[in-house]
């Protein structure tokens, strides 16, 4: 892992890239680059120029931008005659006073330009001459400016991590620097900071609103996609990315989760190189691996008490009150307040004001929080991220695909997308061909685990024939199970049909249902219908549900509805499908009635349903549009929902519900992290659209 990190930092640290590499690889931030360059080029520095501050979080491309500007000045023949761009190092630990800034500037100037060769000798003699720091600083600056004027040169100083230097200056030095910057036309500062410096907004501070600030925001959707594509081109099409829907959804999911940080997007590209057909969870793990040293360092820098507080807030993910933090850490509230203030000041934690005295606190950098949960969280905390990722991946994919789904009942789970039958508008909206697959492990779990140890071992050693042999030799494994194993796991259709029919001969209604589903998958409608009917006649209620959907697919809407209604008598999944049917047919009153029925009958405890993000999404959005936020709130907080962890599984939907209940719960929605905001906004916009429709 370490080597990956090292290679990441070496490859992606802009200072380690050659001028040519950096210029070639500069494919995003073009607009802000052009604007800043125009600012620089248009300023003849006759009068003191506008000083600029670029503000952006870690990894947003500040250093690259500063270097790119420097290189552009160097190659601009109208500018390079008189303007000298100087770039300071990332960390300038030695600059703790104003005179040190000038001393360091002269060192860099000498390194960069032979015209100023003897300046540091003259500086040294001034150091002997002026013992008072103030006087020495003034003398240094005088010498610097007279030398610049004598040589007809002007300086543009690119200072990265400006906050580290600036914070060390005394108030007196700040006044002096402001005066210099306001009155000297010989130097211009283009600085960059990770954090928002309070001084620049403090009415009483000399630097109050002094800089023209440019913000480097996270990449938007188009920029992120274009960055990954361009990186691929620069890498001679190593990945040969076409940016199909699936890839776009992967990129979009990561962009939203990482806040559009360029550094993470670059890591994302690395995951494409290694794993073109991966998924959001693998992408996230890869990015976290690359980013880990930066975040670990951040945690290590905190005191023990602060670490404990950050740990508590991070593991909660949502914002917490000081009171709650105090309870969980068992630290005195006074201590908590003091430490929280410090953490807020250092921008590790953000304070969210509520309408009570108990304000909320959350981790400022949201991706740091996600890293922390994945790195230090227990399984249930990691699971929340996985659910979130899955939701996001589907949401982003959904936005791109504009598809919707009907849920089909299958033995013990999963839904089925009817795909390319193209008979109804539901079907036409579906693109992907999802096939119901049960895992080998799930089948085995039906039975006694110990007895199947041998089969399992074969299975885990990928000795599939041996596994099947072992299973067939065991009396307890019935025909139905063998049929399912052959169908779902080994794709041996003939054997599957043989065993399922054997099960039917034994009057097993589930086998009838399964064979019906088998033929559904094979798109053999009449056989599917026959076996599903048979299953229904033998009391397998879920068969009505699938029969209903089959008929809908075949365009037999009346019959389809009738079957769904029959399914709805016994099954909450049937109720949900009936609601969806009415919803799709714009019979909104009935849709609302059946959605509420499904909820009342515990549809949120149905594993098929909660595995289907889109169905829950559609239901929630519709009911919100129908003004049923209170009912939704009740159903998301009842016992069934708690057991099924509905709030955790569908955090974005939960926040959407809370957004509609701000009057009743004014502080609950405030707990949400910014990584949810963009998607929540889209959800609320969809609800608004729905409201107009219904």
């Amino acid at each position: 892992m370490k080597s990956t990190n090292t290679s990441f930092s070496l490859r992606h640290n802009p200072r380690n890239q050659s001028k040519d590499q950096l210029v070639k690889g500069f494919v995003v931030r073009l607009s802000i680059f052009k604007r800043l360059y125009r600012e620089i080029k248009d300023g003849d520095m006759k009068y003191p120029e506008q000083h600029i501050l670029i503000e952006g979080k870690r990894g947003m491309g500040k250093t690259t931008l500063l270097l790119r500007l420097k290189y552009e000045i160097e190659q601009d023949e109208t500018l390079n005659q008189w303007m000298i761009p100087i770039i300071f190092n990332d960390e300038e630990y030695g600059i703790r006073t104003l005179y040190k800034l000038w001393e360091r500037l002269v060192e860099l100037l000498e390194d960069d330009s032979s015209v100023f060769k003897d300046l540091s000798y003259q500086f040294e003699s001034l150091s002997m001459q002026y013992l008072e720091h103030d006087e020495y600083e003034k003398a240094l600056f005088r010498l610097l400016t007279t030398t610049l004027q004598a040589k007809n040169k002007k300086l543009v100083l690119f200072i990265d991590n400006f906050e580290y230097i600036f914070r060390k200056f005394t108030q007196g030095e700040a006044h002096r620097l402001r005066k210099i910057l306001q009155t000297s036309s010989d130097i211009r500062i283009i600085a960059a900071t990770n954090t928002t410096l309070e001084a620049f907004y403090d009415y009483k501070h000399p630097f109050y609103q002094f800089f023209k600030i440019f913000y480097l925001k996270g990449l938007n959707e188009v920029e992120a996609q274009s960055l990954v594509l361009k990186m691929d081109r620069l890498n001679d099409g190593q990945v040969d990315l076409e940016l199909d829907k699936e890839h776009r959804a992967r990129i979009e999911t990561m962009r939203r989760i990482t806040g559009g940080v360029i550094q993470s997007m670059v890591l994302m590209f690395d995951t494409f190189v290694e794993d073109k057909y991966g998924n959001a969870i693998r992408d996230l793990n890869k990015i976290l691996e690359g980013i880990s040293p930066f975040f670990k360092h951040r945690m290590d820098d905190l005191s023990a008490q602060q670490q404990e507080i950050v740990n508590t807030i991070a593991l909660e993910w949502d914002a917490l009150s000081a009171k709650e933090i105090s309870r969980r850490t068992r630290m005195e509230s006074k201590k908590i307040s003091a430490q929280l203030n410090q953490l807020v000041k250092n921008e590790i934690v953000t304070k969210i004001k509520t309408n009570t005295k108990n304000h909320l606190y959350q981790i400022s950098e949201r991706f740091f929080n996600i890293w922390y949960l994945m790195k230090h969280g227990r399984q249930k905390e990691k699971q929340r991220i996985i659910w979130f990722l899955k939701f996001m991946e589907e949401w982003c994919g959904g936005i791109l695909n504009k598809s919707s789904n009907l849920a089909l009942g299958e033995p013990q789970a999963v839904y089925y997308s009817i795909g390319n039958l193209k008979k109804t508008k539901f079907i036409l909206a579906k693109a992907e061909s999802l096939v119901f697959k049960k895992t080998f492990g799930q089948i085995l779990n039906v039975f006694d685990k110990n007895k199947y140890k041998e089969a399992k071992n074969h299975y885990s050693n990928k000795e599939y024939s041996l596994a099947i042999d072992s299973l067939e030799k065991m009396d307890v494994l019935d025909a139905l199970s063998l049929g399912l194993i052959y169908w779902c796991h080994f794709s041996k259709d003939e054997e599957a049909v043989r065993y399922l029919q054997q099960g039917i001969e034994e009057q097993n209604a589930m086998a009838m249902f399964c064979l019906g589903c088998f033929y559904l998958e094979k798109r053999q409608a009449s056989k599917a219908r026959n076996y599903l009917k048979l299953a229904a006649e033998h009391g397998w209620a879920m068969a009505y549900n699938n029969l209903g959907i089959l008929q809908l697919v075949l365009g037999e809407e009346e019959e389809g509805e009738a079957y769904l209604r029959q399914a709805a008598m016994d099954e909450n999944l049937g109720m949900l499908n009936l609601a969806m049917f009415y919803y799709e047919h714009r019979k909104y009153r009935k849709a609302k009635e059946w959605y509420l029925n499904a909820l009342k009958h515990g549809v949120l405890g149905n594993t098929i349903v909660i595995g289907n993000n889109k169905a829950v999404q559609q239901m929630t959005l519709f009911l919100l549009a129908a003004g049923e936020q209170h009912s939704l709130h009740n159903y998301f907080t009842n016992k069934i929902a708690k057991e099924a962890q509905i709030q955790e599984r569908f955090m974005l939907l939960w926040y959407a519900i809370l957004s509609f209940l701000k009057d009743k719960y004014p502080n609950e929605h405030l707990k949400m992290g910014t990584e949810f905001q963009e998607t929540l906004k889209e959800i609320l916009a969809k609800v608004e659209l729905l409201q107009e429709r219904i």
Partner: protein, 381 residues
């Protein structure tokens, strides 16, 4: 015209504000010394620099920023050096013989002070000459018929505050009185225009020395007039080649209400950013969007400071009352002057008005900036 924020716009980038410039000249013509008063980011310094760069006939303006002076002698050294290095010395032929002699004496004396520490003259001279004294000497008997030299002293209240901090209240009072004496004896030869990012009346009140500045003629820098603001906004947008519908500037100004250049620039900057992002003609919707943005998230720290400085500069009770007053005005949009009639409230309202939160006209208090008002409504609980 570039959209310059924080830095002083000079040359073509300064938006000439005729009304205020003419007002200043009228006061100078009548022999007054001036204190330019306005909240920060109102364009006080750029007005000074405009005067310096474009003097009317018979005027020589010299600009000094004194914010890094923390002792009286340094302050006078700065003013002396300013005179010494300035083109006033180069234009001595325009002065009367008497004044020329005075300047010549002054130049010699200042030079002698400059070399005092470097050359060992202590044996022959008993007491080190002082910049303040030499400066004062120059002030006396300058001929009133000479060209008028106006010293533009920027950040004077900061220098005063620093002197007070370092040497105490008495030293600061003394410094104020020396300055007053100098003004009184200048007899029209040299005039002063002071300004600063913190209020001089506020500091002199704290120093119990309001009498030492009551000779200053206070000139308020008002917001732009509607006509000026229209022109100013168009010039900024045109410089950045932003396409926009004709009706957006009046719409923007209507929303802004308080037409201080900084607030106009802040919104225009965001419109430029918006245009840069989508390259579509800017319309009223974009203005609404930008206003929404200004009062949220990123600008929080900016507005947060308006909130938190109440806690810093007032005691607990006063801060609470000030917040209530502001919340009431924010909610009601405008509140009658009589609404808050107790003594504490009155002095708080005065402070809030001076610090740029609110204004009072027509017997009503209003927020200066609707952006701040919106933020206050949304975020202050």
């Amino acid at each position: 015209m570039k959209n310059i924020v924080g830095q002083i716009p000079r040359g073509d980038n300064f938006y000439p504000r005729e009304y205020i410039i003419n007002k200043i000249y009228r006061r100078l013509d009548s022999g007054s010394h001036i204190f330019l008063s306005a909240p920060r980011r109102s364009g006080k310094t750029s007005i000074m620099r405009y005067l310096e760069d474009n003097p009317k006939e018979n005027y020589i303006f010299l600009y000094a920023n004194v914010e890094d002076a923390e002792e009286p002698e340094t302050y006078f050294m700065m003013l002396s050096e300013l005179l010494l290095d300035s083109n006033a010395i180069g234009q001595l032929h325009r002065f009367s013989k008497k004044s020329r002699n005075k300047f010549a004496e002054f130049v010699d004396s200042v030079k002698s002070i400059k070399v005092w520490d470097l050359v060992e003259v202590h044996a022959t001279e008993k007491v080190k000459p002082k910049y303040s004294e030499e400066f004062e000497k120059l002030m006396t008997n300058l001929d009133g018929s000479d060209p008028i030299v106006v010293l533009l002293v920027d950040e004077f209240p900061i220098a005063l505050e620093r002197i007070s901090k370092k040497y105490g209240k008495e030293a600061a009072q003394k410094f104020l009185h020396v300055n007053r004496r100098i003004r009184q004896i200048s007899d029209g030869g040299i005039r002063f225009i002071y300004t600063g990012s913190i209020g001089l009346p506020h500091i002199t009140k704290k120093l119990n020395a309001t009498a030492a500045v009551n000779d200053l003629n206070i000139v308020e820098v008002p917001p732009l007039t509607y006509k000026e603001a229209l022109d100013f906004s168009a010039k900024l947008l045109d410089y950045y080649q932003v396409n926009y519908n004709e009706d957006i500037i009046p719409y923007l100004l209507e929303k802004l209400k308080w037409l201080m250049p900084f607030y106009i620039q802040l919104v225009i900057q965001m419109l430029i950013d918006e245009y840069d992002l989508c390259h579509e003609s800017i319309g009223q919707k974009d203005i609404d969007k930008v206003f929404e943005k200004t009062s949220t998230h990123r600008n929080n720290i900016y507005f947060e400071n308006y909130y938190s400085r109440l806690d810093k500069s007032l005691n607990l009770e006063e801060a609470k009352l000030a917040k209530t007053i502001l919340s009431t005005i924010a909610k009601e949009n405008e509140v009658s002057v009589e609404t808050f009639d107790d003594k504490t409230a009155y002095s708080l309202l005065e402070m809030l008005e001076f610090d740029g939160y609110i204004n009072s006209s027509g017997g009503k208090y209003r927020f200066n900036s609707p952006i701040l008002q919106l933020w206050w409504l949304k975020c202050v609980r």
